[in-house]
Amino acid sequence: MARTITYMKAINEALDQEMSRDPTVVVFGEDNVGGHGAAGEMDAWGGVLGVTKGLYAKYPDRILDTPISESAFIGAAVGAACSGLRPVAELMFVDFMGVCFDQIFNQGAKLRYMFGGKAKVPMVIRTMWGAGIRAASQHSQSLYSIFTHVPGLKVVVPSTPYDAKGLLISAIRDDDPVIFFENKVLYTIEGEVPEESYTIPFGEANVVREGDDVSIVGVGRVVHMAQEAAERLAADGIQCEIVDLRTTSPLDEDTIYETVEKTGRLVVVDEDNPRCGMAADIAALVAQNRFDDLRAPVQMVTAPHTPPPFTGSLEDLYVPSADKIAEAVRKTTGGKVRARA
């Protein structure tokens, strides 16, 4: 039975259902409970924004708070995953990856390969990403491009409550290390989500809107901006097809190629920075593998090559927007056009 809940609640529900289903699922991070050692209430926070709230009452032994020692507890997730658990560790903000990246990219991601297939690392790292709440340069980054770069990691970037729940359940049941990106601005959006548990396979993009003229590809928050842009463009007779990648690693290349074969025009939208980022990744694959289907230059809409600024007026200019996306779409249709092959 589906009902309308928030993206945040969908994540909480996925954790709850997997913890009740599988006793080896354990959740930990900084203040995922809150109140340890203090005189007041327990579960005082349930995560800095309340995502894990309520789990402590149900699973007091399987949700742990940690010291501010990301290397130790993210590494603990790696070790626990190698020895019989399915840990879900929280890296509060993905911006904090710099103090624990070794355990993620050299240990968790590589053990299986280095050991000749003799290790399995079924861990999930939940982490908050994205600009929009004036949290400044060290609490507003995207960074999923860096994780996507790393062989051995899977990278999930849900854009809706429905996807968040289904993809998180898949992540927890997955036998490889998964980095699960939660967009802080999307936490409060609502959507239809089934009560019962369900999974969404990795590497299967979601065509959220069909159209013949231009393909828009992206993940996370920008998918919503793309939809807004598409509405406006439709009014001008430009039909956009929107592909939400859902996971950046594995990547659903087929769906990207199919939409480009259909429209011949591609706009890649990415909240991450432009250099060596997701937008470039997709644009390059199409330029190599569907060049002859392209009827116009690929357009990339990304954050600029700067850190995220603090103040609202600048941060709003920093992230992509429906306006920028619409402008890019118009560029592709206005651009030089050659007959389809």
Binding site: G35, G40, A44, P67, G98
Partner: protein
């Protein structure tokens, strides 16, 4: 509990200066707490109210050309190091006239020219930089000192622990101040620190001298910090100073603090307030009279009023500022 007496050599003017700094920090934070509630202030704001004696008692021993590295809870350190209060307020409001032109905000408030290397959004981000400050002084042959501030929670971050060892190995002119306010967000130090509340014990493992003082007692902090900084300045090497203190507000504005006991903060404000204690000490000793302190209070209140008014009235940064100052040259 016993408190430390004012130093004999302290002039009345000096005492008033210390009081003014603590009062300015308190007023700045109390006012931000009110203004934040109106929804006009963007982003995360972590208030230093209750901890004023530490920033003031430590930094008063520093010169303009000495450096500090602060934390997410950095307003107090910035004010004590001489950052412009109006520009700080404008920065927190995200305005063009802000100390960082609106690009940093509360979590990155900084003024390198004043020796303030910034608040930091990363717990444990500052201590390594202070090793660099110490190295710089050593290599350039100056007697500058670097002081790092870290919380009890931050003392669990590897970057902080590594820095203690590096400072010892390189025998750097640095002081590592631990502001132990009993909590890391919603978690008590009794839970998050393996050895219980004694963060100072960690210094010994790296060969650093370490002391603990009551962080509410300005003169206790002043005395201990004076020794540590003098030692560093005279080539005696690094040390750790743990200050036991309390914060008056939530971890950040918006925190309901249900993890604290009912009345916990009210009790602290009544019994452990650094400004009250300072006032009692200097007035009972007849060094300053209450009237003079009240005049400082009024001046500070006006300063903060003006700062807030100016900040609200100040213009946003120019859109073109988005792309500037990423590099010196690119």
């Amino acid at each position: 509990m016993t408190t430390t007496a004012p130093p004999d050599q302290a002039s009345k003017q000096q005492l008033l200066e210390w009081y003014r700094t603590m009062r300015t920090i308190r007023e700045f934070e109390e006012r931000l707490h009110k203004e934040f509630a109106t929804g006009e202030i963007p982003g995360f704001v972590h208030l230093y109210a209750g901890e004023e004696a530490i920033a003031t008692g430590v930094i008063t021993h520093l010169r303009l050309d000495d450096y500090i590295a602060s934390t997410h809870r950095g307003h107090g350190h910035a004010i004590a190091k001489g950052c412009d209060v109006r520009a700080m307020m404008a920065e927190i409001y995200g305005k063009r006239d802000g100390l960082c032109h609106g690009k940093g905000g509360s979590m990155h408030i900084a003024d390198v020219d004043k020796g303030m290397l910034g608040a930091n959004g990363i717990v444990g981000g500052g201590p390594p930089m202070i090793c660099g400050v110490g190295l710089s002084a050593k290599i350039r042959g100056t007697d500058q000192v670097g002081v790092s501030f870290t919380g009890d929670g931050g003392s669990n971050q590897g970057t902080f622990l590594e820095s203690l060892n590096l400072a010892a190995v390189w025998h750097l002119p640095c002081v590592y101040v631990v502001e132990n306010n009993g909590y890391a967000e919603a978690t008590s130090v009794k839970y998050h620190a393996g050895a219980g509340t004694d963060i100072v014990k960690r210094a010994d493992g790296f060969g650093l001298p370490g002391v603990v003082v009551d962080g509410h007692d300005f003169f206790a902090v002043y005395e201990a910090a004076g020794e540590a900084i003098a030692r560093a300045r005279s080539g005696g090497g690094p040390s750790l100073l743990e200050c036991r203190v309390n914060r008056y507000y939530g971890h950040f504005e918006g925190d309901q603090q249900t993890y604290r006991a009912p009345g916990e903060v009210e009790e602290l404000r009544r019994t452990r307030d650094c400004l009250d204690l300072f006032t009692r000490q200097v007035t009972s000793a007849g060094l300053v009279d209450a009237e003079e302190l009240r005049r400082v209070d009024e001046e500070v209140a006006r300063l903060i009023d003006d700062a807030v008014a100016d900040a609200k009235a100040a213009p946003d940064p120019d859109p073109s500022d988005l792309l500037t100052d990423v590099y010196v040259k690119y």
